[in-house]
């Protein structure tokens, strides 16, 4: 009997290479087409302000430099299309390189092209940006930007990039006293600060032209999306624009979209008649592109004195950075998930995004949903405290009941399936919640300087969203030897699709996993695709693999029927034997037999569409706070994350581990900071607090599997859950540790000094 490998801890097929010889990242590529490539280093603005000129003479005189391109050299080159067109015209017209003003420190000013990386770096250092023409508008703080203290785009007359109400992405606030019928109303300003995505591999691109055809190797999460942008900029047909993504060392949202530095590379290659390469440094990655979160929220929650929540108002101001793009749109997700896991009768949201003198913001793991969870969880905690109730009891009292699904929340979001109370119970049980509370009481009574805090968060999030849902492509082919080849439009950059997608094909087709090869990341081999982000890949890309595999079985049935000399309706397929006449398994046709017989290779594809799914769970964080120094130690992290049936529990655990770590890091350490003049000051790993295993406990993971009705196998996304649940749980634990001293709120990151100040 064949035992299904579904739901088992199949070891990752990609790991032997990664753990021995290592991956081949874009910067490592050796390819004949890149022979003789020149290297680019971008000279960057070291200050904000009007720019009257760029002196490139020093760069041109640098040995090894082939040339320097500034924005004035690009007058004839069409502007790149904006990421989204929701914003005022003037904010969308971003030049390729700094034109007459540097709007954020780190903005690229000139492309220095040289024989070697070293020469390019030397040349870039010699580029002189000539500032002049008045004081720059310098607006670092997003609330200052919101108040139009100074206006960055004078022609627009305001820093407001997008009021989401005007595009129906938030409800707006009604007149009158929204909370009139509430006995208890709490209000809190909540910061959800800016963080950097920090993929271990930064941005990297190589490209070449051959007879008008472009090949781009790029560290991206979404080769096909990026192909669309390159085709648009360079006016190329699909066949003349090939995007290859080699191994990619993480993205976390930063590599879904494209940047100036990447998109300009083929133009440089064309001008210099050479293949071209560009790989950024860690500092460029930290300051140049793609910060996430960056919201200030005002939450107001009202309800009955016994803890029943009735009404909620959420105001969001989001920092879009100097040029609005995806980041400015993400408050939409915050709006969609405003209700969290709770049954709240009335909700109003007011969301807007403003430009600031900082690097543009992008999607970062969770992208708008962590902010929603953080807001509602903080509000519920404070509401519970005001009602004099345990925060867990108030949560349990207000959670959406399982029998209500599918359920539409007050903001109109339709959740597919969920058992929120059970997730909370399971996490609490695993944490020994009652014992923890007893230990906390003991320490408080004894005046122990090691304060104990217990934080709980309940979350629900949206994956493969927003409505109406998403698509992903896969093609499945039977090889002449009877193995299978899966061509996937999703793109694993650490998520393990080479293993998990092979498991799906193997299970459907009855072909051993060793004989299933998954191919991804090459637009020449894979006709269509979207990419991997928003925790979409298994539910869409994985479902596409199953769908295509089932189609292949149906196609093969005809040929099998011919071989068996039977009517195709009488031929059945089972994963163990292959095709045989129903009730006569002794004579069976294998995939190898079929491959031999078939005139054309047996193959089928699927562009699988499904509505968004809603993973959920509950996190419990236990912290110790040093009463004297304010230092917070995360002692335990217990999470119940339900993303539907687990295809490979080990891979899912990996996703949870990384997510929990990043979420906890935002709560405790990580923060992207700028000084008042717009200089990014957390520009290396010495200053930017990327977390390590040493600061984290071993995570205690609780399993729960509630299927989604939206795809045949019931999958939901697991990629972002950890990040979404953990930040508010850890923050809540810190506040809880101080609660008996009258503290009701501490903003994240809960740095030692911040906690110390809250204590004093």
């Amino acid at each position: 009997m064949v035992v299904s490998i579904m739901g088992t801890r199949v070891l990752r097929k990609e790991d032997p290479k990664l753990l021995t010889v290592g991956g081949t990242y874009t910067a490592d590529l050796r390819d004949a087409r890149l022979e003789g490539a020149a290297h680019v280093c971008y000279a960057r603005a070291s200050a904000l302000g009007a720019v009257s000129g760029v002196d490139v003479s020093g760069a041109l005189a640098t040995p090894g430099v082939l040339g320097v391109v500034t924005n004035s050299d690009l007058a004839d080159f069409p502007l790149q299309p904006p990421q989204m067109d929701l914003f005022p015209e003037e904010m969308l017209r971003r030049s390729w390189l700094v034109d007459d003003a540097a709007l954020f420190v780190g903005e690229p000013v000139a492309a220095v092209v040289a024989e070697s990386v070293v020469a390019a770096v030397d040349g870039a250092e010699a580029v002189e940006v000539i500032y002049g023409g008045g004081e720059p508008a310098t607006v670092i703080d997003l609330e200052d930007a919101d108040g139009d203290a100074e206006v960055i785009f004078g022609e627009v007359g305001t820093n407001l990039a997008l009021n989401l109400e005007t595009v129906d992405m938030s409800t707006g606030f009604s007149d009158g006293d929204f909370f009139e019928d509430c006995e208890v109303v709490i209000h809190q300003r909540v910061e959800n600060h800016k963080v950097a995505a920090v993929p271990l591999e930064g941005r990297s691109v190589a490209c070449c032209w051959e007879n008008g055809s472009l090949t781009v190797w790029m560290s991206t999460q979404a080769p096909h999306l990026v192909q669309g942008v390159f085709r648009n900029v360079y006016d190329l047909s699909r066949k003349d624009c090939r995007i290859i993504a080699p191994d990619v060392g993480g993205g976390f949202g930063q590599k879904v979209n494209h940047s100036q530095e990447e998109m300009l590379l083929p133009e440089l290659a064309r001008r210099f008649g050479r293949p071209m390469r560009w790989t950024e440094t860690r500092t460029e990655n930290l300051i140049g592109f793609g910060h996430g979160r960056a919201q200030v929220q005002r939450v107001t929650l009202g309800g009955d004195a016994d803890g029943k929540v009735r009404r909620y108002r959420l105001e969001v101001i989001c920092d879009s950075g100097a040029y609005p793009g995806v980041g400015a749109f993400l408050p939409y997700f915050t709006h969609l998930m405003a209700s969290g896991t709770y049954d709240i009768a009335e909700i109003e949201t007011r969301c807007r995004s403003v430009v600031t003198s900082t690097a543009p913001t992008q999607a970062y793991r969770g992208a708008g949903r962590p902010e929603a969870t953080a807001a509602i969880e903080r509000a519920v905690d404070i509401f519970a405290a005001r009602c004099g109730r345990d925060p867990v009891e108030v949560r349990a009292q207000n959670l959406i009941a399982p029998e209500r699904f599918p359920v539409t929340t007050a903001v109109g979001t339709e959740y597919d399936s969920g058992e929120y109370a059970r997730a909370l119970e399971k996490a609490l049980e695993a944490s020994g919640y009652e014992d923890l509370r007893r230990e906390q009481a003991r320490r408080r009574a004894e005046g122990d300087p090691r304060l104990l805090g217990i934080g709980v968060s309940c979350y629900v999030e949206i994956t493969a969203g927003p409505a109406p849902g998403g698509k992903e492509y896969a093609k499945v082919e039977i090889t002449p030897e009877g193995g299978a080849r899966v061509l996937s439009g999703a793109f694993s950059h650490g998520q393990g699709h080479l293993t998990t997608f092979a498991m799906l094909a193997s299970d459907s087709l009855g072909i051993p996993i060793e004989q299933v090869e998954v191919i991804q990341g090459d637009t020449a081999q894979i006709d269509k695709g979207v990419g991997t982000f928003g925790s979409r890949s298994l539910q869409l890309g994985g479902s596409a693999v199953c769908d295509a595999s089932n189609q292949v079985i149906d196609l093969a049935r005809e040929t099998a029927a011919d071989i068996l000399e039977a009517a195709s309706a009488d031929v059945v397929f089972d994963a163990e034997k292959g095709f045989h006449v129903s009730g006569a398994p002794a004579v069976a046709v294998s995939w190898a037999d079929l491959a031999e017989r078939a005139e054309a290779p047996l193959s089928a594809d699927s562009n699988f569409f499904a509505a968004a799914s809603y993973p959920f769970g509950a996190h419990v964080a236990v912290v110790e706070v040093d009463r004297e120094t304010g230092e917070v130690t995360l002692e335990r992290m217990i999470t119940c994350d339900d993303s539907g049936p687990l295809l490979n529990p080990m891979v899912a655990e990996g996703q949870r581990h990384g997510g929990i770590a990043q979420g906890a890091a935002q709560a405790l350490i990580e923060e992207m900071r700028y000084d008042p003049w717009g200089n990014p000051v957390t520009s290396t790993f010495a200053d930017y607090g990327i977390i390590s295993a040493a600061e984290l406990p071993s995570f205690e993971l609780v399993v729960m599997e509630t299927p989604s009705p939206h795809n045949p196998l019931g999958f939901k996304g697991i990629g972002e859950s950890g990040t979404i649940g953990s930040t508010p749980a850890v923050q809540s634990a810190v506040v809880d540790a101080l609660a008996h001293l009258g503290v009701t709120h501490v903003d994240i990151p809960c740095t030692p000094e911040r906690v110390w100040r809250a204590l004093s």
């Binding site: 250092e125 040493a694 030692p752 000094e753 110390w756």
Partner: protein, 274 residues
């Protein structure tokens, strides 16, 4: 992340290094473990025209028990100090402090001489040397001289070494007294936000020094005086920040640093049995 171009000389003896320094003056920099110098060069914050590599001067890699003191060659790696039995037995504080430097990779490269010669107020090692009352030995064109650790740190990243001198040895008075070390940081491998070394010396005096509380590594003079005057740990720690001129940075305001100095000093003193 690529240093500006430089010439490279590999010294095969201390004399050769001194000669190279004498020839190139201010344009030259010694390279020991490289873990302070190379980061500066990679950000182009330091751009020496000549780098004189002393990393292979094996005759300056030693830890010797000299009875009343321990002599450590300037090129001795942190890892060797951390694991040395002589250090553990006679200048235990130094071994403990060294084990908190960076991570194992850093400790396998960085040298005690480099940690001292760099004159970094955030470095942990000088605090141990101040608390223990070390003497530093420098060799130059006109021979060798001894410098008390109290006269060594001249300003931010500045020391009493002249541009032609090579630090050759660190001498630390032996003690079997108790000691304590406190390092406060955000992440395991981070530099100290504030740190404190305290040691009971052979003469029964107590040495106390602070990390990252001043433009230079600094002795907590007021605390030492209070202890000498009979104050207990808690009372003596109250004056730990006196005479210090700390700066504000991403991790801490001046006020918080001063607070940390007091708390950490008390804890270090308590750990030293005071």
């Amino acid at each position: 992340m690529i240093p500006a171009a430089f010439d490279y000389i590999r010294a095969t003896s201390a004399d050769e290094a001194i000669a190279a320094l004498a020839e190139h003056g201010d344009d030259a920099k010694l390279l020991a473990g490289g873990h302070s110098l190379l980061p500066l060069m990679r950000f182009r914050l330091a751009r020496p025209a000549v780098v004189v590599d002393i990393g292979r001067l094996n005759d300056l890699k030693y830890i010797r028990d000299e009875g009343d003191h321990v002599a450590i060659g300037a090129l001795t790696r942190h890892r060797d100090v951390e694991t040395s039995e002589v250090v553990a037995a006679k200048v235990g504080l130094l071994g403990e402090v060294t084990s908190h430097v960076g991570d194992p990779q850093v400790r396998h490269r960085g040298t005690i001489g480099g940690a001292v010669a760099h004159g970094d107020p955030a470095s942990d090692i000088p605090s141990a040397l101040i608390a223990l009352g070390a003497v530093l030995v420098a060799a130059g064109p006109s021979g060798s001289r001894e410098i008390s650790v109290d006269d060594f740190f001249a300003g931010f990243l500045e020391t009493a070494l002249s541009p032609e001198e090579v630090l050759t040895e660190v001498r630390i008075p032996a003690t079997d007294g108790a000691w304590g070390f406190e390092k406060f940081n955000r992440r395991a491998q981070d530099w100290a936000i504030v740190g404190c070394s305290a040691a009971v010396r052979a003469d029964a005096g107590v040495g106390v020094a602070l990390v990252n509380m001043h433009p230079t590594p600094i002795r907590a003079g007021a605390t030492e005086a209070a202890l000498a005057g009979g104050a207990g740990a808690a009372q003596a720690a109250e004056v730990a920040a006196e005479g210090c001129d700390p700066t504000e940075d991403l991790n801490a305001s001046v006020e918080y640093r001063q607070h940390l100095a007091r708390v950490l000093t008390r804890r270090a003193l308590e750990a030293a049995g005071l």
